[in-house]
């Protein structure tokens, strides 16, 4: 490994490049393989007025709860095993997301793909006739120039100022690997992002020659030309899934949802888990798990 070419940085170094008003894409899907350590670092920063692009889960919820989201481009926000995300709901119901942009899931893919191909838009049928167009008059249609003449929805390209994704493995230069069942759209988030702030957090940094020890070459969908910074973040997707390294921490996710029910319990949760840096977060989670296990033992 050539250390002079290393892109390894910390979460806080990555977040130090983010400015208020930027457009940030967050990889993963719902409560699956989310770059949560980067999101937690973003929560600790002073940046605000963000445009967030996400197949949303707790990343969106936490950023909404912290009042950092001005504009949100999303197809859904869900915790998967718990259908509804409490902070996102609260923010939408209070009207604090100034500019929600709601897309069909496939439209969101198309917007990111157009962005990564540097096209102005990509055509699709998804969204036509739906409420997505009723509530968003800026969406335009385009007529096929061929004999069919079909009118299609032109999904505008999404360009990002920064992208965060979480991978199972990466080398120090940014070649990254997913070992789970689905890449989701992480390659498109990186592709749609301006070079400079494309960040990959990873469970484990490995030597380049070890990348194929745990998965076939098919798993190498992120290469170093797509990445500007690599962050070593063991358990960094917690509490979302990071298969096969770990599954979702369902008990903690439930505690997160329960804590969102009122301001006091959310403050207690934030104080306990989100007031320090990533290592404090991970220690607080370990301590919480031990408490839960002890309580379970005591109630037997």
């Amino acid at each position: 490994m050539n250390d002079t070419r290393s892109k390894v940085i910390t979460e806080d170094q990555a977040i130090a490049t983010i400015e208020s008003g930027m457009t940030i894409g967050i990889g993963g899907w719902g409560s699956r393989r989310k770059p949560m350590s980067l999101v937690r670092a973003l929560l600790r920063s002073n940046v605000s007025d963000l445009t967030v692009v996400s197949y949303g889960g707790p990343d969106v919820g936490l950023l909404c709860a912290a009042g950092k989201v001005r504009r949100l481009i999303y197809g859904f926000v869900s915790l998967d095993s718990i259908a509804l995300e409490p902070h996102f709901r609260a923010a939408r119901q209070a009207g604090t997301i100034v500019e929600p942009v709601e897309y069909d899931e496939g439209m969101l893919q198309w917007g990111l793909y157009a962005g990564s191909l540097r096209l102005p838009f990509l055509p699709t049928r998804a969204g036509l006739g739906s409420g997505v167009m009723d509530v968003n008059p800026s969406l335009k249609t385009v007529k096929s120039p061929y004999a069919d003449g079909e009118e299609l929805l032109a999904v505008p390209a999404i360009r990002l100022d920064a992208a965060f994704v979480h991978m199972n493995r990466a080398d120090a230069r940014g070649n990254a690997q997913y070992l789970g069942p689905d890449l989701y759209f992480d390659d498109l988030f990186l592709g749609a992002c301006e070079p400079g702030r494309r960040f990959v957090s990873t469970e484990k940094i490995v030597a380049t020659e070890d990348l194929l020890k745990e998965g076939t070459f098919h798993t190498l969908r992120i290469n170093r030309a797509m990445v500007d910074g690599v962050i070593h973040a063991p358990n960094g997707a917690h509490f979302t899934t990071c298969e096969p390294d770990y599954g979702r921490d369902e008990a903690f996710q439930k505690a997160y949802v329960d804590a969102a029910r009122d301001a006091d319990s959310w403050k207690a949760f934030s104080d306990r888990f989100l007031s320090g840096d990533e290592s404090s977060y991970q220690s607080a989670v370990s301590a919480w798990r031990a408490e839960v296990a002890a309580a379970k033992e005591a109630s037997k």
């Binding site: 509804l84 897309y103 893919q109 969204g127 409420g131």
Partner: protein, 251 residues
């Protein structure tokens, strides 16, 4: 087993029936009853269907709901789901928090979209599903707050809107069936208004009418939804050994 089948079993069969005749396409179920229906159809009368584990794999055999011992026969990550639905080779059964007479459906929010009274999931894949592939619905509680004259947000496109688009979409738009705890409904009427197909055992047509917030097309003869066959009961037992269906539909 008692003489009369459990309601959840009748409904499982009614859900399975939605995929009858579909052949070798992706039968996709969003939710326990929907998944049970897809797997039951494949296990019995529609053996060529492809079904997934709900995550990223096509599975062969009768994988129990929530089961982990999978025989994987293919890979279907989200990106491939989008490709498959845009290619029309899929029939999805979704849920709906609201649905209207022409099948416009809503899973996004209740109240005005700009500032909803209740934010739900967001439109998810509803817009793309309903203009690209066949779509059915399972609704566990048939009531007039769900079967509404106008939905608050169109996350799934109904027949009236599809016709307005015209062309490719109008020609292929295909909302198949709506299965509820009371009845089976479809859109097989001249103007594609929702029609009552059958009522579940013990349910009267008047119960369905009283719990629907718009005028349904009611045929002169409304049959009772059929009971599962012995073969179907065996398959239901294999696919849902823990009886998760009874949590959705208590008898």
């Amino acid at each position: 087993m008692s003489d009369s089948p459990a309601l959840a079993d009748v409904i499982a069969v009614a859900c399975a029936e939605a995929w009858r005749g579909d052949g070798e396409i992706f039968a996709s179920g969003m939710g326990v009853m929907q998944m049970l229906g897809a797997r039951l159809a494949r296990a019995t009368f529609e053996p060529d269907l492809m079904v997934s584990d709900g995550e990223a794999f096509y599975v062969a055999g009768d994988l129990p709901i929530g089961g982990t011992n999978k025989t994987i026969e293919g890979w279907i990550p989200f990106r491939s789901v989008f490709d498959t639905l845009a290619g029309g080779r899929r029939h999805v059964m979704m849920g709906a928090s609201q649905i209207d007479k022409y099948g416009n459906s809503n899973i996004a929010n209740i109240g005005p979209w700009a500032k909803p009274k209740a934010q739900l999931l967001g439109v998810r894949g509803g817009p793309g599903n309903t203009v690209n592939n066949a779509t059915s619905f399972f609704i566990p509680k048939h009531q007039s707050s769900v079967f509404v004259p106008v939905v608050d947000m169109v996350s799934g496109v109904g027949y009236d809107r599809a016709k307005k688009i015209g062309g490719f979409i109008a020609k292929r738009h295909d909302l198949r069936r709506v299965i509820t705890n009371l009845a089976v409904l479809d859109f097989a009427t001249p103007d594609n208004a929702m029609r009552l197909v059958s009522v579940h055992p013990g349910v009267n047509v008047s119960d369905v009418v009283a719990n629907t917030g718009f005028e349904l097309v009611i045929p002169a003869d409304v049959p009772v939804s059929r009971a599962p066959t012995a073969e179907e009961m065996d398959a239901i037992g294999r696919i849902d050994p823990k009886g998760l269906r009874h949590r959705e539909i208590p008898s």
